[in-house]
Symmetry: C2
Subunit: 218 residues, 2 copies
Amino acid sequence: MTQSTPAHLTPRKRPRQARAKATLEAIFQATTQVLIAEGPYRLTTTRVAERAGVSIGSMYQYFPHKQALFYALNENYLDALAGRITAACQAQSGASIEQMVAALVNAYWQAKMERPEVTRALYRSVAELDNQALIASFAARVDAAALTMFASANDASFADLTAVNLTLIHCVFGTVRSVFERNLPPQEALTIRDHLMMMCVAYLRSVSDRSPVYNTQK
Amino acid sequence: MTQSTPAHLTPRKRPRQARAKATLEAIFQATTQVLIAEGPYRLTTTRVAERAGVSIGSMYQYFPHKQALFYALNENYLDALAGRITAACQAQSGASIEQMVAALVNAYWQAKMERPEVTRALYRSVAELDNQALIASFAARVDAAALTMFASANDASFADLTAVNLTLIHCVFGTVRSVFERNLPPQEALTIRDHLMMMCVAYLRSVSDRSPVYNTQK
DNA sequence: ACCTGAACACCGTTCAAGT
DNA sequence: ACCTGAACACCGTTCAAGT
């Protein structure tokens, strides 16, 4: 998962002793805490070290610079997120496209909405980084899981599955993020979520080989 | 357009004399240049002032802090973008939903892809800010323009136009941004763009009151 | 192997002095 | 009304000294 991480963002070394592991864990936790409590703007190495109860020098033994710390934090987060989405996809093997779409949307939606401040703060902290590798590795895992899922649909099949899958993934994730960032009143947001599902289903039906009744091609 | 800007991000004062206007313009241009040439990480007040040929003190007469400068820059950008999209929408009054969707997707796509480094750099510079007001004001303009456009469609009409419009807007903008950020090979990106259009059309047909042939409701 | 914290370079921001 | 730039507080990062 971390193969293509840019060299300058790689951790300096891995902890070997127990106390080192504790140090690293404390640093990660402190970073999240400072991020939530004080915001991305006040997230300084000094404050993180202080909150973690370690010296500033300790931090720099593991991370070559501040950015690498944020990078690692986001990597952890995206790894967990990809795991959840992959699991949701696997659970829908052989189901209908409607069920699949609902599962995919809900998995991502829930993950983002569970702790909105964390989502927002993490996102801010990584936006200024070179996050291409993070995105690519997350996307690769999710792409694969969704592809397998949709290939197993019991009520549709697709000639150009790869393109269909890519479109759907970007649509679901892009739309959910867009709604999330706009911070709409909950009821309105939920309406869009439901419409998003309808939209995905309408699309999948329109490009499916089966059920020509729903084929909207002119 | 700037009514709801948070007080702490408001410019300190407006230029009244000609030389002051020139100073402000130089600062904006220098900011963009430094952003592109050196990246968001090296975008410092010192460098901007140096490149603009003004003293650091001059900058602080107009902006209470660095963030306010970035905020203003993004405001300008989003204002222009909203203008382009609004124009594209107006040009499609009375057209088919297919034409409308294509116009909307293309307008946003082109704006983002024209100068990708600028798009990316600007986005990074604003991510760490409190950008809710920026998003809200941009969204309000685009929402209104798209709503008017879709209400005039010659081949569809919608009972819940507001929800349909919101969904479509978020889907188009979210998906395009998602694709943009992933940095896919151009050919693949274009395929998704075309599928995105198909998706939007399939959705609009499925929720339209007219053309029951395309209604996919069970 | 891991931790410490004084020291240094640089950045954001101010403000008294100028025109 | 507008501009200047030395001065200050704070931040990121290093490194010699420790256990």
